[in-house]
Symmetry: C2
């Protein structure tokens, strides 16, 4: 196994290497858990959609893209203001090149996707400033555990990921409720990370819920119920249920660190099977620090796929190099998993080729 050209390790290299050897050539399964929170419609919070209202369509449009190669619930693919395409364009390439099986989990969305999906009984989340953000948390978590266990019987490793607009704000709130890290190090799909707005929303949310920093260190499900989003309970359960038996890549940016913190608090024994899988763009982001957040949770491996759009002929893709998007829909985790699942037959070069041909087809350039 030599993945040094394609994957860079940014924490716990020994454990990362051992886990990747275990996954090499094995049967992987990719999952993406979708959720909506009305927090994403607060103007300025989320750029994961052309307008605040369209952020509620983004999760379902993303997974329709993965399943059908086109969107159904809305016209065109999800874009950030300025026309920069969803990271699902990367995930699509990783899944189709590798042939890896994948399943979508509905943690609770406002707009249902036109695909077969796992339902776990979740609902769209409320604005976290209510201090009462998510319903049915225990139930969704328990069903996630069952699902993770079931998928771990059929596969050698699993990727957990998310599409949930507004999710870095809810992640910051959960990380603070659990006392993981005080500093605001979460990322944004915009290079102009609205840190002050996120801080003020999170403060208001924690105050409304009567939570001080670290109060819910041992009760992550309560933290999620108060100030999280509906992507979290199902995904935390999925990670716990699967990682008891097989390696799990938490695919994503700083949103997934809240899932990571909650899963490890609920079952510390899974630590040996956990790796964070993200992108070079996320690692290079000057306005966030995923590695420091992960280290605040545990000394866990962080791997990044070396995708680089500097030489892309398309401005929408080169924008990733200027700090737009960077992560989401498990684009980093699915790319790393594609390399491992295919035992290196898929690599950064073939991924870049496929991303470009897919992008040109979707944008009607071909």
């Amino acid at each position: 196994m030599d993945v040094s050209q394609d994957v860079t390790i940014h924490n716990a290299p020994g454990r990362a290497e051992a886990l990747m050897r275990k996954m090499w050539g094995g049967r992987g399964v990719f999952t993406c858990t979708i959720g909506s929170t009305l927090t994403s419609t607060i103007p300025g919070v989320s750029d994961a959609g052309d307008t605040p209202e369209l952020t509620l369509y983004t999760p379902s449009a993303d997974v329709e893209l993965l399943v059908h190669g086109r969107t159904i619930c809305m016209d065109g693919i999800p874009i950030n203001p300025g026309g920069i395409p969803t990271p699902a364009t990367v995930t699509m390439a990783a899944l189709s090149l590798s042939g890896m099986p994948f399943h979508i989990i509905n943690g609770g969305v406002k707009v249902l996707p036109n695909i077969p999906y796992f339902d776990v009984g979740g609902q769209c989340g409320r604005d976290i400033r209510s201090g009462d953000a998510v319903s049915n948390v225990d139930e969704c978590y328990q069903r996630g555990v069952i699902l993770g266990d079931m998928l771990s019987r059929s596969h050698d490793f699993l990727v957990a990921s998310e599409s949930c607009a507004g999710g870095t704000t809810t992640a910051l709130a959960v990380l603070r409720a659990m006392g993981m890290i005080e500093e605001n190090l979460v990322s944004s799909s915009s290079p102009n990370n609205p840190k002050e707005l996120k801080d003020s929303i999170v403060s208001e949310a924690l105050k409304a819920a009567g939570i001080e920093f670290g109060d819910l260190r041992d009760d992550p499900l309560k933290a999620i119920a108060c100030v999280g989003d509906p992507m979290m309970p199902a995904n935390v359960g999925l990670v716990v249920g699967a990682a008891r038996r097989i390696p799990v890549i938490l695919g994503g940016g700083t949103q997934m660190t809240a899932v990571l913190a909650a899963a490890l608090a609920l079952d510390p024994s899974i630590e040996r099977n956990i790796m964070v899988g993200t992108t070079r763009w996320m690692i290079n982001d000057p306005n966030s620090d995923i590695v420091r957040i992960v280290r605040s949770i545990g000394d866990l491996p962080v791997a990044a796929i070396n995708l680089d759009y500097s030489d892309s002929p398309h401005d929408g893709l080169r924008a990733y190099e200027r700090g737009y998007i960077k992560e989401g829909v498990g684009c980093g985790g699915s790319s790393i998993a594609a390399v491992l699942h295919s035992a290196g037959a898929v690599n950064v070069k073939s991924l870049l080729q496929r991303i470009h041909s897919d992008y040109e087809r979707i944008m009607g350039m071909d």
Copy 2:
């Protein structure tokens, strides 16, 4: 491979043997697609529940039993009048002994199960006497195909099954709409098969839909939309999507023959990968004839698990020998699959032991 003690072949023995060799020791996955049709609440039609109204709880209670080992949506396990336990008690044993992964698909039920399940956009079905029985048929079928394809990437064979009360009546209607077989050979979970009632309901349904015998030979989805039930579209899609790549056991009694006929009409190329898997009780039923129905569709293998409750100390189980229940929830198919998946480590003897210990636990006898 020697399964002669455990499995008996009742049609196309050469193809059965070849398919079973292909599945022997492979990674199986069991699925059960649930659905409700208001047809089951017509008094006298269905005994799959203690009362006509309880037949609407049976599918969800059955799959809760598989996932949790107990029911949540109702008290106690589904029983026929007289206290005879659901065939899910057999499926439970097959799944737990073999450790085979399994997934539940919600084709469209009245009462949602408290488990994670695949949603395909289906709804509870209407009384078939309306001639307009099932909504969203094309959509559910297409999503079933996607799901079958996805599961075929991760597994070496798949079992498709059903829990849908009233389903032999809807199956008879679809078989007649497709012109498969005129005679009423479908079974019943009661030894007193209400054949005249079923015939009159089916005649009324076909008349309401303006369908003559065989009119919809080439349009099975329309037959299902008019006179079928919501278990069917998802399950037909699942079978088509999976059997394009891997062997599929259609687990069940005469209800599943409507799924079989529809799947083969939609994609005849899957024939090479199809086997019907049922029980000795179904084969021995003097009031129905699954083998003749299957032969009217094609020269397909029919295998039966040799479960025999004659020596059971429990009257509720011995009732199966007197013609009660006989099939359902893929009890025959899951048992055959358990033998194949475990390469013979699970057999009729170990299944009988587990069924008895589970039954005694559930009934509070242990």
